[in-house]
């Protein structure tokens, strides 16, 4: 088992704070995904957990023991690199058995373990090949196999699928989730792709500029983003943001002024604390594309710029009167076409409101 605890973990490179005081607990057998834009510190955080990077400040505990000074191979964690990092001069079998061989494990036992891992990953016919004779997907499997052979408590993945083509990526995603179920070990997975994060994670850690923006299950992040950053980062296409001003706050709803002479009424949950939204405050209204629909008469309007037919649904990118782009998710049979003047309505009881600092004030959810 591997339970990881990060207490105020930080990393500084030549005066640059790559990771700022991260507190995080990863439970045993959890599949946690670190996601964020490039340069957010997610890979650095992973490398500190692996032991490839020194921890500048704070403490890392693995199964209750402080691991800051424990060398990488003694942490019981295995890592899969973005570049696969296979040993080019060794066969697949030797690649997978190298760690055990170096640890002095008897040859027969090494072979047995390599064969067992190869069976899981369907690598048996490739055991005598060299990495350069393998396809990208096969190399990725060998890299995972090399990790499995060591029988680690936890797996660390550093953007392992980003060098694969789209179809293979989807397939490997499913295989990794299955592998997680079969092996029942802790997995930490770094990616910049929020789709990978949403589809694989038990819990997602959203990082931005070296700190954690939010930790939660995929649906928590999607429906209750803690702030504008998470709201904008999770979900594709992106959430629509409408900077506005609360002109009046009533019992069940508030009037939001999107632009001068353009206001709409937006419901306010009954449980909201009285001081959370004051009249006159600058706020941002956040509406996902599926929170909007094309209607004959709606509070928003504009001209359709681009239409994307995805088969299962249709996405309309609409240029609003004030020049802002609004994305609306319509059904597959929607007749909308580029150039149309359309009116947009809000699904009742959906959407989020954020304060001037970007923090969420409330999220509406259908009762």
């Amino acid at each position: 088992m591997a339970r990881l605890e990060l207490r105020k973990v930080g990393k500084t490179f030549n005066n640059f704070e790559a990771v700022k005081s991260v507190d995080l607990t990863i439970e045993d057998r959890e599949f946690v995904v670190f996601v964020g834009p490039s340069g957010c510190g997610k890979t650095t955080l992973l490398r500190m957990i692996a032991g490839l990077e020194d921890i500048t400040s704070g403490d890392l505990y693995i199964d209750g023991e402080r691991a800051n000074a424990v060398p990488p191979d003694k942490r019981g964690l295995a890592m899969v690199f973005q570049s696969y990092a296979l040993y080019p001069h060794m066969t697949v079998a030797r690649n997978m058995g190298f760690a055990l061989k170096m640890a002095g494990v008897p040859k027969a036992e090494v072979e047995e373990k390599v064969r067992a891992a190869a069976r899981i990953l369907q690598l048996e016919p490739l055991l005598d090949r060299r990495p350069r004779m393998l396809s990208g997907g096969q190399r990725q499997r060998v890299a995972i196999g090399r990790a499995i052979v060591r029988n680690p408590k936890g797996f660390l993945f550093d953007e392992p699928l980003s060098n694969l083509d789209a179809a293979l990526r989807v397939q490997m995603r499913i295989e990794l989730v299955k592998l997680h179920q079969d092996l029942a070990v802790t997995m930490i997975y770094v990616t910049h792709d929020q789709v990978e994060a949403m589809t694989m994670a038990d819990r997602i850690v959203v990082l931005n500029q070296g700190h954690i923006e939010q930790v939660g299950t995929p649906l928590e992040l999607y429906h209750q983003p803690a702030n504008l950053f998470v709201a904008g980062f999770i979900g594709s296409p992106k959430m629509n943001f409408f900077p506005s001003r609360a002109v009046a706050v009533g019992r069940g709803d508030a009037t939001l002024e999107l632009s001068p002479n353009h206001a709409l009424s937006f419901p306010v949950p009954s449980g909201m604390s009285p001081g959370a939204l004051a009249p006159g405050a600058s706020v941002t209204l956040g509406l996902r594309p599926e929170h909007l629909f094309l209607a004959n008469d709606g509070p928003l309007s504009g001209q359709v710029d681009v239409v994307e037919h995805l088969g299962v649904e249709t996405l309309a990118y609409i240029k609003a009167v004030n020049g802002e782009m609004i994305t609306v998710r319509a059904d597959d049979l929607s007749p909308v076409a580029a150039g149309d003047r359309v009116s947009i309505a809000l699904h009742p009881g959906r959407g989020s409101l954020f304060d001037a600092g970007g923090k969420a004030i409330f999220h509406l959810s259908p009762a």
């Binding site: 990488p72 191979d73 003694k74 295995a78 990092a85 080019p88 090399r146």
Partner: protein, 272 residues
């Protein structure tokens, strides 16, 4: 038409220039096959009956075999020593660079700009006081140190082409620096190590200044062997030429065999 003429002229000039540069070597080889009388004949003889007597004289009189043996031993041992020191040094510089690594590399190379004669006296005194004058050991040490910067540079650029991830993967696999060097860098950088070693062998074979100044009859290399021919009792052109041919032939043959490998080694990293 004009272009063809211009390119023909260019070809002729290039061949002439090449001939002028190559001429001394050609003349040396020709002279080696003459008798002493033919060698100093004026005007110089272009058509003559080649003889091997000068080679015979050079081999018999001056202990060529002994000097050649020294050359082989010194160049091989000094190369082995240089590679042995440079390998871990280049590993550290390529994979665990510090703040001053780049400066250190440049500084190492800058020592090649120092005129050797500037340190002749101190080095001579050191070897005199340690009883190393006219020993192969002294030349092995000096040649290894002279070639060290170049060998470090070459290995460094080879190592830099090896993805860091591979070493980090090995680190995760529990393989320390020694294991990484033996099991990963040695096989992966073998072509680079071979090129660096070949170059070091050639450079130390050709090294003349220190072997002439630090050694004599006992530990002298082929460079010393040739230098001894310009003796005060007079010049023997045919024998000198024969001796010179004997001195440069082995390394010329070796160099032409190793050429392709070396060119590949020296240009690595320049083009991907």
């Amino acid at each position: 038409m004009e272009q063809e003429k211009a390119s023909l002229a260019g070809t002729i000039v290039a061949w002439l220039a090449a001939f002028v540069m190559f001429f001394p070597i050609l003349w040396m080889v020709i002279t080696a096959f003459k008798t002493e009388e033919q060698a100093i004949a004026i005007p110089p003889l272009l058509i003559f009956h080649p003889v091997l007597s000068s080679f015979g004289a050079a081999l018999a009189q001056s202990g060529y075999i002994h000097f050649a043996e020294n050359s082989v031993i010194v160049s091989l041992c000094s190369t082995a020593l240089a590679v042995l020191i440079a390998f871990p040094a280049a590993y550290a510089m390529a994979f665990q660079p510090g703040k001053r690594t780049q400066d250190l590399l440049v500084w190492m190379l800058s020592t090649k700009m120092l005129p050797p004669v500037g340190v002749l006296v101190p080095i001579y005194l050191i070897f005199r006081d340690t009883d190393l004058l006219d020993t192969r050991t002294s030349l092995v040490i000096v040649d290894a140190l002279i070639n060290l910067p170049i060998v470090v540079w070459m290995l460094f650029s080879f190592f830099r082409d090896i993805p860091r991830d591979i070493l980090e993967a090995a680190h995760m696999d529990g393989v320390g620096p020694r294991g990484q060097m033996i099991h990963l860098l040695l096989p992966l950088a073998a072509p680079g190590i071979a090129s660096a070693a070949l170059l070091a062998i050639i450079l130390s074979w050709n090294e003349a200044f220190w072997s002439i100044n630090l050694t004599a009859a006992h530990a002298g290399t082929l460079a010393t062997f040739i230098a001894r021919y310009s003796a005060p009792e007079g010049l023997f052109w045919a024998k000198l030429s024969a001796a010179s041919v004997l001195a440069v032939a082995p390394i010329l043959i070796f160099g032409s065999l190793a050429q392709r490998r070396m060119v590949r080694g020296l240009t690595v990293g320049a083009v991907k």
